[in-house]
């Protein structure tokens, strides 16, 4: 018989009037994230003391984490992200429905893998995701029809795992791993996809302008630059095909012209979409500088393109 592990509790959501308000979305969302993390750590520390006693050996790890999170919280206003990145205006955040796990919603369906509440590390990650979700503006939260939080089975050195966005169904899946330090990055990366698809539908001309601006530069991270390489590979493939047709005296059929256009659209879409998601994570302070592979002036131009896309005043 498999013994059922007890589920750990998540923090209650803040009422709307206490959620981040005002201009700087990032600073307030980051502060909330750190406070929620601290809350969960303190509760877990108490649970360990109740279970094992106050011998430092049992609480050493949790104390280290507490000190680190508290230091970040104390310095949140002075973090580089919060002194050098653009101020981000936040929309209304008024939803009051809440799940048993404290996720607020309007019409979204929230699914939480029970395994995520059975370990302390996973519960900490779940708590910061809950905080980020609860701090999203209403209109962004409403884009997500289903938020599906699952436990990752990744075995990589950093336990890296990402997420999934399905535009047709509006499902955002986030795979959470106890050793990962990327969960918030992944969350904002996938939210970035949702937002990008939305703006493509409502303001395609803004997306074309974004595309034009980012095309002058390398992509900001190795990850996003990999799509530039794929795009270059596709351009070379198309040139080769055109040369082959010309050499054989074969005229390009209308069908083939249409397919080439589709292939070009694919590469353009994926490059600008992934670049935008990386910028979205960076602007939210959840992509470390060490991941940025372009020089400062390039990054400034890329951030200006992001700001223009979102109508953020510079």
């Amino acid at each position: 018989m498999v013994e059922e592990k007890p589920e750990l509790e998540l923090p209650e959501p803040q009422p709307p009037k206490e959620r981040p308000q005002g201009d700087n979305y990032r600073v307030k969302a980051m502060t909330n994230k750190l406070e929620r993390h601290l809350e969960v750590l303190k509760e877990q520390r108490q649970q360990m003391i109740d279970k094992y006693g106050s011998d430092p050996v049992y609480v050493e790890q949790v104390d280290k984490a507490l000190t680190s999170v508290q230091n970040n919280l104390d310095n949140v206003d002075n973090m580089k992200y919060n002194t050098e990145l653009p101020v981000i205006p936040m929309g209304k955040n008024t939803h009051v429905n809440k799940t048993n796990d404290g996720f607020v919603y309007n019409k979204s369906k929230i699914k939480v893998d029970r395994k995520l509440k059975e370990s302390m590390g996973l519960t900490q990650q779940l708590a910061v995701v809950q905080s980020a979700w609860n701090d999203l503006p209403d209109d962004v939260r409403d884009m997500v029809k289903t938020l599906n939080l699952k436990m990752s089975r990744a075995s990589g050195r950093n336990g890296y795992q990402g997420g999934k966005w399905t535009d047709e169904t509006g499902e955002l899946v986030l795979n959470i791993h106890p050793k990962s330090s990327h969960v918030m990055h992944n969350f904002y990366h996938e939210v970035g996809h949702a937002r990008f698809h939305q703006i493509e539908k409502t303001n395609p001309e803004k997306v074309r302008r974004f595309e034009e601006r980012i095309s002058k530069h390398r992509a900001p991270t190795r990850y996003s630059e990999s799509y530039r390489h794929a795009s270059d590979g596709e351009a070379e493939y198309q040139r080769k095909k055109i040369r082959e047709f010309a050499k054989r005296g074969v005229l390009m059929s209308d069908t083939n012209k249409k397919i080439m256009e589709q292939r070009t659209n694919v590469m353009r879409n994926i490059l600008e979409n992934e670049t935008h998601s990386e910028l979205n994570s960076y602007v939210m302070g959840e992509l470390p500088d060490s991941d940025i592979t372009v020089i400062n002036d390039t990054m400034k131009d890329l951030l200006n393109a992001y700001n223009e896309l979102w109508g953020i005043e510079q």
Partner: protein, 64 residues
């Protein structure tokens, strides 16, 4: 040689833990998959999948 080109409906990229693109499953710890509409080229789905010990978990049956 066929004269017909194929639309792109799926792109898979392999990465290691440092989020660097790699070429083989053995080097990869995860992959990112993007699916596209075959007419317009619009993105329809984007997701990541674990690669565990060189085995692509997308094609491994999961225990329920």
């Amino acid at each position: 040689m066929t004269d017909e080109l194929e639309p792109i409906t799926r792109i898979e990229m392999l990465y290691n833990d440092d989020r660097e693109e790699v070429k083989t499953l053995e080097e990869a710890t995860w992959k990112y998959v993007s699916l596209f509409d075959e007419e317009t080229g619009d993105i329809t789905e984007q997701y990541s999948v674990d690669i565990i010990d060189g085995v692509d978990q997308e094609y491994v049956e999961k225990e329920e």
